[in-house]
Point group: C2
Chain length 323, copies 2
């Protein structure tokens, strides 16, 4: 799949929502239904904590067990039925204090919104592999679209376990001579079609249940040491690049670039209406450091943020945050 610039560059949305988990999608249901031109940017189809949840049976009103991805799909269809637009794109930067606010994706697209709702979840990795930091920018990368071309006709490793990682691997495989797709667990959390597509690539080799021990090299990456968790066997693969697309549990807030008030540099501060310190910028769901990480709680925050965004857009409230 190729990234294309299908957006009209000067298109202005009322609401740009970053993240399509239960918080972002619920926000979209409410703002789109209220008649606001709503865009939702999402990183991957089965992205986020709910998207990769295998079974859920306690989401109130939806008797289960169903997959988290199926529940999410239902929410997204609902939002689309009210006119919300969903566009795939990993957000890497924002300008929140301008009017309109601007949101940039990794493939260089720019999106403009009068309001931004941050619902990017908490899937950042807190722990890094041995050698990861050392070789960052010298073989280690978090972005296939940005860096794949540097590895033309060379062997690389892609570490990941979801459809976002697959998408990136497919892109990288168009350049690299060989792609080792390394899955730490025993399963790829992605739609079967995506996994099939990956398997079809002649230069891709999938390694399930392989733990990364170390990324090694001198000036640049020369290889990766792995352990096969099923056999206990250690392996060394010669690669010149290592692309890492793994999820974790830290809030995904890098793209805010310090523009909104945070506690400990990690947790976004919001008022009762889910508004951040920047007027017109709201946050909802796991990206806030809530103790309770349940889909229904995230959805409720999305609802609240959307209702506050509606008030903000309607000019019914002062644009000074009420702390």
């Amino acid at each position: 799949m190729e990234f294309t610039l299908t957006e009209k560059p000067d298109e202005l949305y009322d609401v740009v929502i970053i993240g399509a988990g239960p918080a972002g999608t619920t926000a979209a249901i409410y703002t789109a239904r209220a008649g606001w031109k709503t865009l939702v940017l999402y990183r991957a189809e089965a992205d986020g904590a709910l998207g990769i949840t295998q079974k859920i049976e306690n989401y109130p009103g939806v008797p289960g067990p169903i997959s988290g991805y199926e529940l999410l799909k239902r929410m997204r269809e609902q939002a689309k039925s009210f006119g919300a637009k969903f566009v795939r794109g990993k957000v890497i930067a924002t300008e929140l204090k301008t009017d309109p606010k601007k949101v940039y994706t990794i493939d260089g697209r720019e999106f403009k919104g009068k309001v931004v709702i941050v619902a990017s979840g908490a899937m950042e990795r807190a722990h890094k592999f041995k050698g990861e930091e050392e070789f960052l920018g010298r073989g280690v990368s978090y972005c296939g679209v940005c860096d794949a071309a540097f590895f033309k006709d060379q062997p690389v490793a892609v570490i990941g376990d979801d459809d976002y990682a697959i998408e990136e691997a497919l892109f990288i495989a168009r350049f690299a001579s060989k792609v080792y797709f390394i899955v730490p667990g025993s399963k790829i959390k992605a739609p079967p079609e995506a996994v099939e597509e990956l398997k079809k690539q002649p230069n891709v080799e999938i390694l399930l249940h392989h733990r990364v021990l170390e990324i090694v090299g001198d000036q640049t990456v020369k290889g990766i040491r792995l352990k096969d968790l099923e056999t206990g066997e250690e392996k060394f693969l010669e690669v010149n690049g290592v692309f890492i697309f793994l999820g974790g549990t830290k809030p995904s807030v890098d793209f805010l670039m310090g523009q909104v008030e945070m506690t400990d540099g990690e947790c976004i501060v919001v008022n009762e209406e889910m508004m951040t310190s920047v007027p017109g910028v709201f946050a909802a769901g796991d990206v806030l450091c809530n103790e309770v990480k349940q889909a229904v709680v995230a959805a409720a925050m999305g609802c609240k943020a959307a209702l506050a965004a509606d008030k903000f857009l309607s000019g019914k409230r002062k644009i000074v945050p009420q702390w």
Copy 2:
């Protein structure tokens, strides 16, 4: 339908939940699934703000439009599938500082719980009819089971528009010579079977779209003045009793009898975990004076209250509220 004492009088529940709207029912989903013996007390099948909502299409994950009652039924089935028990009974009194805590229903039953979750919603009436306060206890009543027998072979009015009112009217019709069932709007918000049952009673006359102008009398009630909103015609009905079963928008908290801390005597104060000032007593949903009255927000609060109740029951937290 008759009220019967089917409870074993000494049965002890882990969790007694007052109210079966989205907050109470979601709390039950979570506590029952966590293995706690859970009882939900509810006033009427289609009770509460969601139960009487005709159409809902923005509850995330449940594409609509479906009726609020149908959504609620799905949630209740879910809670039952995890073992929660639902018992019909209007709660009129509580003892919350004892161990176990006690909850009393209007028909004299007593229920015991280690934890109580108050999710009784906000359907109390803030405005009263002319004459209502004056004749309270002298012909005006809010309880058929308590007072119907006083009106044996006498004409009475029942004012209401839901299945709780129908239930009460059916009970009252066994005593009264004549029951005028007065509906302020043009529709009874109840399952068709319940409406049919009411229509079948030879001594019940249903008056749709009739506004109550005044309850009149001398020492006791002698009649009720009505206006037919369709014809504009005013009417006087001779009745000795007026039973009122109408919903409003005030929190239903009378049965707490001042045992938990409230603001303005109306709004229950809770901490972040939804715990009231009384350890082991939680509150969730519209009974709290939230600005956002949406099913998903109430459900989220029920989820939070249940998780906190779980911690409380597990002894994982100090039983001193953290303010």
